[in-house]
């Protein structure tokens, strides 16, 4: 988000997030009003404004306290890491406690607040202050008589601060009747008004900040939750985190080999957010633990935020499914953070997670289950908190796994807190009821940026760990558990039968082939015999013909017949006839052959 061009000069507060909301800080050289009920964090905000100004921006500041004395202030903010004594000694800061006892005071005629002006001026000039805090100047109304004079003097004071070009924070306690401040300070300090709120819903308190008014400048108008942490105030506007986190392509194992293979063999994307949702007892925690264990085995640090079970309970339960987390904990690679959601407010949870993550710097984080946070805030708030949490993990390149419990018959493909759209990967585990038993099934509902299996897998928890098994999907129905095992056995039997049948058919064919071949051989032999016979017949016929010519010649010789020309011709003709006649028996043979 690029800050919009703003004509108004700003003084950065240095408070995390506040400068984002106000587009750069408070109006420079003008007083701003910070109001809120008791304990809303007005003094801390004002003090952090001065401390950060002095330390980070080289602008010394004067803190004029009307309620707490210097020692109390110093002690109160020491817990935030602000060393006021040192800042005062370095002349980066001046503290002045204005104490007025109402009982000691008697008014006798006109007065003014020159005393206050003199003190403020002295302090400002002593350190060259650029920033001033008046906390809570309304206390004057309780201790000084004559409101008319006071109002006129306060007006003069704010004008004077403006003339001196001091950026000031005036704090004011919220009035009972809905007015911003008890005595209407907003009338005098109208350039910038910030309202702090400390709301208690379901016995859990959340602090919120809102820029009610900012003359001449753009500003965020929402209510932003803020935290008072170990290093001061942090306002957490969702938008200030932006959507600019890097997107690595490395993968990280899910802890279940078969699940890895469902994500094209490599598991989740590093730095992504993973949601596992499902009804009670579907194995969400087991999947989460397997993931944490895998990280620890790779030597990466992991943090397990448990909102439901104690670390011991989780470790015991996980041992029963072959996931032993104890060595990881004793080696220090796995850290459990078990806390009841109702222990403190959402923002405090967020802060605790932030701080633990900053301290341990894990690569992998498990939040189990996020749905339990609903007991602390309404869905909108939880969603907003989780958005910020996910963004936080992403900017730190932490792979985060969240589990979400789907209650009863709620729509399975919908999470209770409606965070699925924030997630990169969403696994759904559910119970399938069939044939009098419940079995677990696992799907990948989505996984951004990678090819992933569309198959439903049966999810089997045993003492060997988590296994994913293909479920039976034949015949238009989905079978799991023993039904699947039975169906698989049946299928094996059927396959066996088909195999046997095939072998039989093969044998039959072989037999037929052999029979046919035998027949062919027989016919061939027959043919050969026939041909043989034919040859013999032809030879016999030739011999007979030759014999008959010789016999006729012999006979003629015996009859002493003269050898006339005609005879010679006849004999020649006979010889020709004999030749032609040879064809006749031939035909006869053929005829015989056919007849047979």
């Amino acid at each position: 988000m690029r800050p919009a061009p703003d004509a108004l000069a700003k003084t950065p507060t240095g408070i995390a997030g506040l400068d984002d909301i106000t587009n750069g800080g408070l109006p420079k050289g003008r007083p701003s009003l910070v109001c809120g009920s008791a304990g809303a964090g007005k003094t801390l905000l004002a003090m952090e404004f001065l401390v950060r100004g002095a330390v980070e921006f080289g602008e010394p500041g004067v803190f004029m306290a009307f309620e707490e004395n210097e020692d109390e202030l110093t002690r109160n903010v020491a817990s935030l890491g602000f060393d006021l004594k040192r800042l005062v000694a370095q002349k980066k800061m001046a503290l002045d406690h204005v104490r007025i006892e109402r009982a000691e005071i008697e008014e006798t005629g006109e007065y003014d607040l020159e005393g206050l002006f003199v003190r403020l001026n002295t302090a400002i000039e002593a350190i060259g202050a650029k920033r001033v805090v008046l906390d809570t100047i309304e206390a004057l109304f309780a201790s000084l008589p004559n409101e008319g004079i006071l109002r006129a003097e306060l007006r003069r004071l704010f004008r004077w601060l403006k003339q001196k070009g001091l950026t000031a924070i005036i704090t004011g306690e919220r009035g009972n009747s809905g007015s911003l401040t008890r005595h209407g300070l907003e009338e005098y300090v109208a350039d910038c008004v910030i309202v702090l709120d400390h709301r208690i819903t379901n016995q859990v308190s959340t602090r919120r900040l809102r820029v009610l008014k900012y003359r001449g400048s753009l500003h965020g108008t929402n209510e932003y939750p803020f935290l008072i942490g170990r290093s001061g105030i942090s306002v957490l506007p969702v938008t200030s985190l932006g959507l600019a986190h890097p997107a690595p392509t490395q993968r990280i194992s899910t802890g279940v080999p078969r699940l890895d293979s469902m994500f094209s063999g490599n598991g989740y994307l590093r730095g992504s957010s993973v949601l596992i949702s499902g009804t009670a007892g579907t194995g969400k925690t087991s999947l989460a633990s397997a993931f944490a264990l895998a990280a620890c085995k790779r030597g990466q640090r992991a943090v397990y935020f448990a909102f439901e079970e104690s670390p011991q309970q989780i470790m015991r339960n996980m041992r029963s499914v072959g996931i032993d987390l104890r060595p990881c904990v004793s080696r220090g690679t796995l850290c459990f953070h078990s806390v009841r959601p109702s222990h403190y407010g959402l923002e405090q949870h967020l802060l605790a997670i932030h701080e633990l993550v900053e301290e341990i710097k894990p690569r992998v984080v498990v939040v189990d289950p996020v749905t339990n946070l609903l007991s602390v805030g309404d869905p909108m708030e939880v969603r907003s908190m989780l958005t910020r949490l996910i963004d936080f993990f992403k900017t730190h390149q932490i792979t985060a796994l969240f589990t979400s419990l789907t209650v009863g018959d709620a729509d399975l493909e919908q999470t209770e807190v409606g965070i699925s759209s924030l997630m990169d990967t969403w696994l759904l585990v559910r119970n399938l009821e069939h044939n009098g038993e419940r079995n677990r099934a696992l799907y990948i509902l989505k996984s951004r940026g990678m090819a992933h299996s569309n198959q439903v897998r049966e999810f089997v928890l045993s003492s060997r760990g988590i296994e994913l098994v293909d479920i039976y999907t034949g015949g238009g129905e989905v079978l799991t558990g023993t039904a699947r095992i039975g169906q698989e056995a049946e299928e094996r039997r059927q396959a066996q039968r088909r195999l046997q049948e095939f072998a039989r058919l093969q044998r039959d064919a072989e037999r037929k082939r052999r029979a046919t071949e035998a027949q062919i051989a027989m016919l061939k032999a027959q043919l050969e015999t026939d041909l043989e016979e034919l040859k013999r017949s032809v030879a016999q016929e030739d011999v007979r013909k030759a014999n008959s010519v010789r016999d006729r010649k012999t006979m003629a010789r015996e009859r002493m017949a003269d050898q006339s020309n005609s005879e010679v011709r006849t004999s020649k003709a006979e010889a020709r006839t004999a030749k032609g006649g040879a064809r006749a028996p031939n035909a006869k043979v053929r005829g015989n052959g056919r007849g047979r």
């Binding site: 002045d96 204005v98 104490r99 007025i100 006892e101 000691e104 005071i105 008697e106 008014e107 006798t108 005629g109 006109e110 007065y111 003014d112 607040l113 020159e114 005393g115 206050l116 003199v118 003190r119 001026n121 002295t122 302090a123 004057l140 000084l144 008589p145």
Partner: protein, 123 residues
Amino acid sequence: MKSTSRYDQTAVFERSLKKARTKRYLLRLYVTGATQKSVQAIQNLKRICEAHLKGRYALEVIDIYQQPALAKGEQIVAAPTLIKHLPPPLRRIIGTMADEQRILLGLDLQSAPGMDAHERHGN
């Protein structure tokens, strides 16, 4: 330095108490330069002291423009401010010292009507 002098004053007071058996007053009036309010306050106070505390009071007039550090040390907010250091209890009287009744009340020189005044302010 300041506190030492105050202890000296206390000693003086205690000695004088034994002698005179009367309360001795130590008063400091903080003003801001020679403004009209300052001048009025000084004149009014002197008149009242002379009338009611003659011979048994010490009045110091301090200009906080000249000695700004004292403004912080003595918790001065309004000006002019009169602080009655002695006798106890410590009391502050602010304004131009125009209301003699109130001043007498503040200096514990009058009691009964003063209570009413107190209550009126409390409301």
